[in-house]
Amino acid sequence: MARAGRQSYPLTWRLLDIAERAARLVWPRRWKRQVGYLMLTPAVLLVGLLAIGLGYMAEYSLHELDLSTYRLVEEYSLVNYQTIVDRPVYLRVFWRTLLAAILVTLFALALAFPYAYLMVRTSSARMRKFLLIALFLPFFIGQVVRAYGWLIVLGSEGLINTALGALGLPRLDLIYNYPSVIFGLTQYMLPFAVLMMVPAVAAIGEEVELASEGLGANWMQTFRHVVLPLARPGFIGAGIVVFTLSLTDFAMPEILGGGTSDFIASSIYDSFFQISNFGLGAAIAMVLVGIGSVLAAAMFILVGTGTLGMTGGGRDTGR
């Protein structure tokens, strides 16, 4: 009777039953309490591998390069870190990178929020689909390809300057400078910012805005006093992601910067590959990791984790 009953189950149910029985063979019921640890294992392995790699980098950073053999000397020292402090160029590049990360974060947040708001609030399914496709399409194109695309648009013989020339206007230097790197990075980071922002905006019930307007607030007041504060977790999450990605970017500054607007990732690359000084490259990398970690940790402590936290958007988390 029971067997006849089970045979009438939908196929998916029966497949799940088989999967459950197979899982019980591998992970018996008496180990049920350890399922959480099992779920954590892949993440721990991944982070562990990263930690091991960082450990190697830290070890390399404590050895100076011997120019007669191009090998790192055995003795430990802080020479590489002293080099970073003593040479103004590294401090300049660090500052340039930090400033760019801050600017790109601000621009990306300012542009991402209206996009996310429209995507969530629009009543048109067609518009929502269009915005989704437009958001995900750039992910199919790599960062390098997008950077080269900007060369075609912004170059001195590019679309914009050709149009300016046709109008009898002087050509502009739109590329191979710091502003073009900021521009390219902002465009690249925008989809990330929107994706982090959407959960927070979606968590703001439309009735809350209606209630605000019902109580006499105009659109601007509702936006400023209701929507923005409730979207704060989205701003925090998007801000942290965009900031850390911008801080460590390599391709955009290399391609759009003209060689004179290098970010710190380029300095790391140059140390490893141009002058084969693995110790110095590792030291610069450790400093970058340190700065990024300290800033991210400070943001988590001061303002919470936003939509990066698992307690969901729309509420202030992490405090």
């Binding site: 120019l67 053999t69 103004p88 160029v89 170059g155 013989e157």
Partner: protein, 374 residues
């Protein structure tokens, strides 16, 4: 009791016959250039299916393909696969492989002599002193400051002053100092590590060749002035793109790149200004740690690259003076100052020995970086 008689297994007979036949064939080989005496274990059937050669892309790789790789494959049956990893990026991979006792990722590295010297100092290169085709080559083929042949130089090349003729109606630039003129602001290009121009910057800045490397201040001052003109810094592919898109009017680049750009229809010419141009060499080396038979055939490849036939085809395609003596330059480069063949030609150019470059390039790079990243 059955008498014992010697039975030669068929497999052993075939192996021995192939070995004898191969040895005889090699002795009168159509390669005509002599080959390495083969160790007993490197029998004909020990040929690898392929060997991997690291090359630069574009015109460089095409020249290696037509001049060396394809003829080598035709003669030996061994396929030659190119690895286009950048020279700077393959180096740590080879070093790590050798240090860890692993097989390196390539069989032959086509490298700058300076980079190759660094690898030689690190002890990761195989000695090539027994290559028969080293005999009779120009002294340029011998690496400077090293024992034996941990690498072999294969040709010379010049970092020329490439320019867009349209931007120079008055004729080719006579001096590198023209880069300081305001009309070229943002329209100058150098390699992003100063390679090829550091010594020239000293001379253009009012110093002399005797100042190199102990007193480079004239060069740093020239760079500080040049920095005001916002030059672009990049690599070979960037230069081609920039000339193609009309982004630059003048650059310090290798003559091969300028010639390739011109051959593909881009309006670019080159010259050697009064301060001179840096001349350097590239070479080939074989990393340690290869299986015995693969190392043997890798050395055969290098040996073939030094033959008259390969040098003529390869260097003619590149448009560069070979280390094999007596070869005629390509028609379009006869009398070209960027194709030095005589002592007088080389006297106009600036040559810095590899050991000096190896020792000072990291220091020069740091100063260059400090000035241009400011």
């Amino acid at each position: 009791m059955a008498s014992k008689r010697f039975i030669l297994p068929r497999r052993t007979f075939l192996q021995g016959s192939a070995g004898l036949a191969g040895t005889a064939a090699l002795g009168t080989s159509a390669l005509g250039t002599g080959m390495l005496a083969r160790p007993m274990s490197a029998l004909a059937q020990d040929k690898p299916e392929e060997i991997i050669v690291r090359v630069w892309g574009g015109a460089w790789g095409e020249a290696m393909r037509s001049g060396v790789a394809d003829p080598f494959t035709e003669m030996t049956g061994i396929n030659v696969r190119f690895d286009y990893t950048e020279d700077n990026e393959i180096r740590p991979r080879i070093w790590a492989a050798v240090d860890q006792g692993r097989v390196p990722p390539i069989h032959v590295n086509w490298d700058t002599s300076t980079n190759a010297t660094i690898s030689a100092l690190r002890g990761v290169t195989v000695d090539l002193s027994d290559l028969p085709n080293l005999e009779g080559l120009l002294p340029l083929a011998r690496p400077v400051g090293l024992e034996g042949y941990p690498l072999v130089n294969t040709y010379a090349y010049v970092y020329v002053c490439a320019y867009r003729p349209e931007a120079f109606p008055e004729g080719p630039p006579q001096s590198w100092r023209i880069m300081l003129e305001p009309r070229f602001r943002g329209r100058i290009a150098l390699y992003d590590d100063g390679i090829g121009f550091n010594p020239i910057a000293v001379i253009a800045g009012g110093g002399t060749i005797d100042d190199i490397p102990d007193n480079m201040e004239a060069g740093w001052e020239f760079y500080r002035q040049l920095r005001e003109n916002e030059p672009l810094l990049g690599e070979d592919p960037d230069f081609t793109t920039w000339f193609q898109n009309g982004e630059i009017d003048i650059a310090c680049t290798i003559s091969v790149n300028a010639r390739a750009a011109r051959q593909s229809g881009i309006d670019v010419e080159w010259t050697v200004p009064e301060e001179g141009c840096k001349v350097d060499t590239d070479g080939l080396w074989v990393p340690r740690g290869l299986p015995e038979n693969e190392e043997y055939w890798a050395k055969q490849y290098v040996n073939f690259a030094l033959s008259r036939e390969a040098q003529a085809a390869w260097c003619s395609a590149l448009g560069l003076p070979p280390v094999y003596p007596g070869l005629e330059p390509p028609e379009d480069l006869v009398g070209d100052p960027a194709y030095p063949t005589t002592e007088e030609d080389f006297a106009r150019l600036v040559s810095i020995p590899s050991p000096v470059l190896v020792e000072n390039q990291p220091i020069w790079f740091e100063r260059f970086n400090e000035i241009f990243q400011g």
